[in-house]
Each structure stands twice: as structure tokens, then as C-alpha cells.
């Protein structure tokens, strides 16, 4: 077909041929992960680093993320050759679940495919952040496209915000949109930005799909190959490339005019805040920017400020407790979603070679599940110890814990906005008494 293959490590092919699928899971996808190349990547330009980061993904990483979104793709796999696994990621396999009646071979088909590709991409990006995404068996559910940790969400990839207003005229479900709309939807309640979703890229995928094999049936349109050959990091790299603590710190201490350093470079704190924490996050940078300055003071002044700003500090802690409580209340539904996904993976890997893949996926799933539960416990402990935490630092710790627990911002928007206002108020009080 001419597209770049996802897998170019010959050892994977050999291991699959030898029936050693379990070992193949730990092999890097690309030979770019040879030690020399890895070291070079570490010591040289950003472009090569991205390539190296992609190369460091193993076959297991890839299968885990893709199958976690759509366990059904396993049923199409043969696992006899690395090409058959490449085929597993082809758009055609996913598209097989797309109703043929919706896809006439016209511009309408491309539009339909675009929507479908965008949904799957958003799904993968969310998975990378530790959420469970479940696409309903029947597509075109009224008002929502998928359940994220059990909560209904609409996914949209649009040229302008008109479609978002139309959605909210009829439904209340939150919406996740493409990155191009980030500045238009900043602060808009119930709207979240997937900063890895680019409309032009989605369109390219859909058009390629139409060119290869009349869209669906026989076409081998390796969706991930297209992503892999682009400079945009892959789904799972979203999590890999996002330094959460650094990102949150940046939102706290930077204004939107300043850029977040390191590997996230190029995203403003406000946009990043929106991506991580939704509408409340996107304005946090602006209002909390003064905290850093307010936090710098002499010790004596600090003690005096402590007394004079006690009421503000308590209000911040109260809002933080409320935010943590709401986040914790969402955990049981998330657990249910994860358990249902586990059952779906087990069900899809009952037979043949898929059982080996299934064991691997389930083991990783269980490992991530332990991590998620531990973070939830940590969050509960943090809530119970909030009285002893410096109120200026509360929000940073809280948001890191919430993100690590994989709780979607939608769950905590209301108290998070209040926490934002109160923390800004605390910063203002501190400034006043420090003067």
C-alpha cells in the first residue's frame, strides 16, 4: 500500500512466527530503539527525541492502548505475522463497526469517516490519560458518542463553535473538541479540548481511507501509521509527554502569555490548563499567577499573614475538600467501567492465539487498576490531612492527585472553579497584608 508500517522490528515478526507472542509483547515496535539510536535520540534534537520516544513503545504498549479502546478489534486478528498485526490497526477493522448505510462513496462518506476517526482518536487520547472509554454498540447515540469512566460525552471535530452551541441547545452532555477550537471555547462550561486532535489530520485520515479500498471493506489504511509518521506524538505518548506536576505548576505560576517549558513546549499554560482541567483549568493560570509572588515573603510577615488570612485559607481548604470529595465519589463508577472493560477483553480473547494477547492485556489492565485505586486512596488521605497543608499549595497537590487517579475534569468543574476563585482571593489577601 505504500504507507509506513507500524512495526519494522524484524524480531517481532520472528517471535510471532515462532509462536512466542508473549515475548513479542516486550519488543519495541521499531528498530529506531536500537541502543545507539536511543542514545543519539537522548542527546540530540527534539525531532529525533520524538522518533525515539515512539520507538520506545513496545508491541504490548500499542496493543494495550488500541484494544483497551476497542476490544472487538481482537476478533479480526490472526497473529500469524507482523503484517496481520499491522492490519489489526487498520482503519478498515475499526470501520467495520461503522454502519455501511451511513457511508455512500461521496463527500458524505468522508465526513462520516472523519467523525468516526475523530471519535476513535479522542478515545485513545483519553485512554492514555487513564480514563476508560466505552463506545456504545449502536452508533449515533442521541447526544453522546461514548461513555468516559461511565459518564456520557459528545466528541466533536469542527471548523467552528456553531456545532457546539447546537449541541448544548438540545443536550447537557459535556463535549470534547479538537485543538483548533481551544481559544474559542476557553472558559465555556462543559467543553474540553483534546489538544492532540487536529482537524486537518483527521481529514487526511478520512480521505486516505476513501482512496484505499473504497473506504472500508478491503482497505488497509493504517490509522496509526499515519500518526506515527507525523510529528504529533501518539495517543499514549500524550501521557508520556505530559509532565503532570510540571504542567500543573506551570498553570499555577504562569500566566497564559507564558509558555510551559520542556517537552510540552509550545502550549500556553491556559490552553494546557483547558486540556487538563477543562474550563476551570483554562483560567486558573491567570488568576493564580499572583500566588507565586504572594507566596514569597519574609517569615515574620508569613506568620502575621497566617493569622490575618485564616478565614480565606479555611475557605480554600473547604473548596478543596469538596473537590476531593466529588472526585472520590466518581471512583466507584470508574471502577465499574474498568471492570466491564476487563470482562470485554477477556471475552474477546477466549480463543486461539488471542489468549496470549489477552493475558498480557489483562495483566496490564490489572496493574493500571491497582495504580488507579492507590491514587484514589492517596487522594482520600490527602483530603483527611488537608488541614495541615499550606492552602497556597493545596490546589497543585490536589490536581496532580486527581489527574493521576484518572478522574475527568468534568466531575469536579464546579468546586474547582470555586477553589480557583478562593485561591485567587487568598493570594490577594496575602498581598494586601504583606504590603
Amino acid at each position: 500500500m505504500g504507507e509506513p508500517s507500524i512495526i519494522d522490528n524484524p524480531r517481532i515478526d520472528q517471535l510471532i512466527r515462532d509462536g512466542r507472542l508473549d515475548e513479542a509483547m516486550y519488543e519495541p515496535l521499531r528498530t529506531t530503539s536500537e541502543p545507539t539510536v536511543r542514545l543519539r535520540g537522548l542527546l540530540s534534537s527534539v525531532g529525533l527525541q520524538e522518533d525515539t520516544a515512539y520507538g520506545s513503545l513496545t508491541l504490548g504498549d500499542l496493543l494495550y492502548d488500541v484494544i483497551h479502546v476497542d476490544p472487538i478489534v481482537l476478533q479480526a486478528a490472526e497473529f500469524s505475522h507482523s503484517h496481520s498485526i499491522d492490519g489489526l490497526f487498520s482503519f478498515a477493522v475499526w470501520a467495520a463497526t461503522f454502519p455501511a448505510s451511513d457511508v455512500p462513496s461521496t463527500q458524505g462518506a468522508i465526513n462520516g469517516l472523519e467523525g468516526f476517526a475523530a471519535e476513535r482518536l479522542i478515545g485513545m487520547h483519553l485512554e492514555g490519560q487513564g480514563h476508560d472509554v466505552h463506545f456504545p454498540d449502536v452508533s449515533n447515540e442521541p447526544g453522546y458518542d461514548a461513555l468516559v469512566d461511565g459518564h456520557p460525552f459528545q466528541f466533536k471535530c469542527l471548523a467552528d463553535v456553531q456545532g457546539i452551541h447546537e449541541h448544548f441547545a438540545r443536550y447537557t452532555y459535556p463535549v470534547i473538541v479538537n485543538s483548533e477550537l481551544a481559544s474559542d471555547v476557553a472558559g465555556m462550561p462543559g467543553v474540553y479540548v483534546d489538544d492532540l486532535l487536529h482537524r486537518s489530520q483527521v481529514r487526511e485520515i478520512a480521505e486516505s481511507s476513501m482512496q484505499h479500498g473504497t473506504g472500508m471493506a478491503e482497505g488497509h489504511v493504517p490509522l496509526l501509521s499515519i500518526l506515527a509518521s507525523s510529528p504529533v506524538p501518539l495517543y499514549r505518548l500524550y501521557r508520556r509527554e505530559t509532565d503532570l506536576v510540571g504542567a500543573v505548576s506551570a498553570i499555577v505560576t504562569n500566566t497564559s502569555a507564558r509558555y510551559v517549558g520542556g517537552t510540552i513546549g509550545g502550549k500556553s499554560a491556559a490552553i494546557l490548563g483547558g486540556a487538563l482541567f477543562g474550563p476551570a483549568g483554562s483560567v486558573l493560570g491567570l488568576s493564580l499567577g499572583s500566588i507565586a509572588g504572594a507566596a514569597v515573603g519574609r517569615n515574620a510577615a508569613r506568620i502575621a499573614r497566617g493569622v490575618l488570612t485564616k478565614g480565606d485559607a479555611q475557605a480554600v481548604r473547604g473548596a478543596a475538600i469538596e473537590t476531593a470529595t466529588l472526585a472520590l465519589e466518581s471512583i466507584p463508577l470508574k471502577r465499574e467501567a474498568w471492570e466491564a472493560k476487563r470482562a470485554a477483553v477477556v471475552d474477546a480473547t477466549k480463543f486461539g492465539k488471542a489468549t496470549v494477547i489477552g493475558s498480557y492485556i489483562v495483566a496490564r489492565h490489572d496493574d493500571d487498576f491497582v495504580y488507579m485505586n492507590d491514587r484514589a486512596r492517596e487522594l482520600a488521605r490527602f483530603r483527611s490531612e488537608l488541614q495541615s497543608v499550606d492552602p497556597s499549595d493545596v490546589w497543585k497537590h490536589l490536581l496532580v492527585l486527581i489527574k493521576r487517579a484518572g478522574i475527568h475534569a468534568n466531575v469536579i468543574q464546579e468546586p474547582l472553579s470555586r477553589l480557583n476563585v478562593l485561591t485567587a482571593g487568598l493570594a490577594a489577601s496575602k498581598s494586601r497584608w504583606m504590603a
Binding site: 515475548e23 516486550y26 519488543e27 519495541p28 541502543p35 545507539t36 536511543r38 542514545l39 543519539r40 537522548l42 542527546l43 540530540s44 527525541q49 525515539t52 520516544a53 520506545s56 513496545t58 505518548l237 501521557r239 508520556r240 509527554e241 509532565d243 506536576v245 510540571g246 517549558g261 520542556g262 517537552t263 496493574d367 493500571d368 491497582v370 495504580y371 492507590d374 493521576r404
Partner: protein
Amino acid sequence: MSDADHSLIHDALFSVPKEVIAEHLAGLETVNLARLLGEKVSGFLDRSAHQGMADKVKTSAAVYVQTTTDTDLSFKLLAALSQLLGASPHQFRSVRDFDDATGDIIKAAVVALREEDKTFLGSSLQDLIQHTVNALFGEVGKQFDHLPQEKQADVLKAVRDLISRLPQEKQADVRAKLGVNDLSDEYLRHAVVSGSLASALAGAVGIGGFGFYMGAVSLVSAMAGAVGLTLPFAFYTSLTSTIAVAANPLFFLPALVGGAALIYSRQNRSLRRKLAVGVVVQLALAGTAIETPMTAENNRKRAIAAWQHATEALSAAEDERINAERGLETAEALSAEIATAAGHDAESFKTMRGALSAARQAVDTARQVLSVRTRTAAAAKDRYWGLAL
């Protein structure tokens, strides 16, 4: 910074030979400014005195290799790095916990180096490595002039051998960077001292890979040995500046007359933090050279199981300690009761003497049990000390 970077560190922790981990750990635990000063004072101007420190590290590492499992060593090294760099403690119940822990260690290492070395302005693991690799090759030039003639010839030969390990076209690149076609002794000598060789070789690390890097480390170590310092490079590069400070009369004269506790504390902290940064860099570089990711994965799973086991053992030991404490309290109360009763009545003292003796024995036994339990609990805690067990 990415999780891929983080995993370099824990991939290395769980796949490089046990001896390497043991040496890093022993170095971090053994090297401190007091010891360096002790050697400095006892063998002032006797450069070979530093051999003693290297021997101590090697001996301590050998003991670790003999007595400690791979998993325990990896955890101990993680704990030592976390403590020295001030990184947050972590639990280790899932693979992502290792990502979080090593991510925190990398961040702390970046902060530490920025504080300890004002020439470092980086913000990532990549920056840390580049800075360290440049420093490594820079040392070649700095030390060269101190070597005797025959050693200088050995170094030039080693440099030539190192370059010859590169692919032909890459050798040409290095020559081009140096601006010569023929790497004669005379030109190489100039390139070494001027530092131009350093930048050419630093660039070649990426080309030559980990083997080339290790060759360069061996070269620097050999040179270091020639001037009396045979510690591994991570220690070596960190030590040179500290030794320079420590050897300065402005530092150690106040230290000798006392009142230099603050200076000592700062310098010692600085030294140990830089050592820890060196180990982080070494581990990351080793992480790029891993050929068998499944080994690291399996060892990581074993480590998670060991952590779980240690958590349970600690919990059981704590429970037993509490029970033993209660047993001691009961025995002591009983003993006191019997002694009081016996004291009131001489007749009953006779009959109760046996009971009193038994009660006292019970107290002794309970004390012994408590002592053992306390030690067990402390040992269980110490085993993974600093890692939030």
C-alpha cells in the same frame, strides 16, 4: 520530560548487572566529605591516598553483591537517590509507580544540579546527560597535562582506539570537526588540551552508542587512575571540584580549628547530591543500552511482588511487636501484683515465691520477644527505608 525518560532509569535499575547497582549504592553510601578530608589530611599531597576511598567503595559493593538480592539492591538504590535528592517517597505496587518515582528523582536531580553547578541551566534528563557527557570529555583535557609523558602517550593511543571504533564515515565526521585528516600524536595532543577533542567526542557518543560511551568512561577512569583517583566516572567528575574546595586552606583551616560546621555541611551536601546526579545520568545512559526489555519487565514484576511481601512482613512484624509489648505489660503487672501481695504477708511470700519467679521469667521472656520483634520491625522498615513502605 516523558515517561519514556523515566522508564530509562527503572529499566536500568532492573536490568543492569547487580555489581553495577551495588557499586553505585556503595559509592553513595560511602563517599562523604569527612572521609575525603580524612584521606586528604593523612596523605596530604599524596595523590594515591584517594585509592583508599575507591577500595572502600569496592569492598562495600562486594559485600552487597554477596549478601543482598538484586531486587533489594534496586530498591536500596532508589531509596538512596530519593533521599539524597529530596524526591518524594513512593509506594511500588504497579509499574506506573516506578514511572512516578523515577520521574520525581529526575526532576530532583535537575534541580540539584542547577543549584550545585551554576553552569548548568537545563531542565530535562536530556540536558543533564548532555552536560555530564561534555564534562566527562572536558576532564580529558583538564587532566592531560598532569600526566607523565608515557601516560600521555597511552591516553593518545586510547583516544585513537576509541575513534577507530566508530563507523568509517563517522570517523570522518570527527576528523572534520577537528579540522584535520590525519590524527597525528601532535595534533591529538593539541586537540585534547584545547578542548576541541572534547566537543568532537561528546558529539560522537550519540553516534557510537553506549559501547563508545563506556569506552570513553574507561579512558577517563584510566586517566583519573593515573592521577590517583580510580572511582567510577560518576563519582570522579563530582569529586574533582569538591576536592579542590576541600584541599583549599581557606576551607580546611577553619575546618581544623572548628566553627566550620556550616561550610562542611553545605559542601558535604553538595558533594553527595552531585554524586546522586551522576548516578541518575549513568542509569539513564545504561537504560538506553538495554537489549532485553523483557528482563527488566520481569524483574520489575518481581520487585512489585517483593514490595508487597515486604509490606505484609512489616505489617506482621509491627503486629507482633505490639502484641509483645502488651505481653510485657501484662507480665510486669502480674509480677508487681504478686510482689505486692507477698510483701503484705510473710506466709504467702513463701507460697507465692514460685509464682513470682515464674512471673519474672515471663517478664524476661516478654522483654526478649519484644526486643526481637522490635528489631524485626525496624529491619523490615529499614530494608526499603525511605520508600514510603
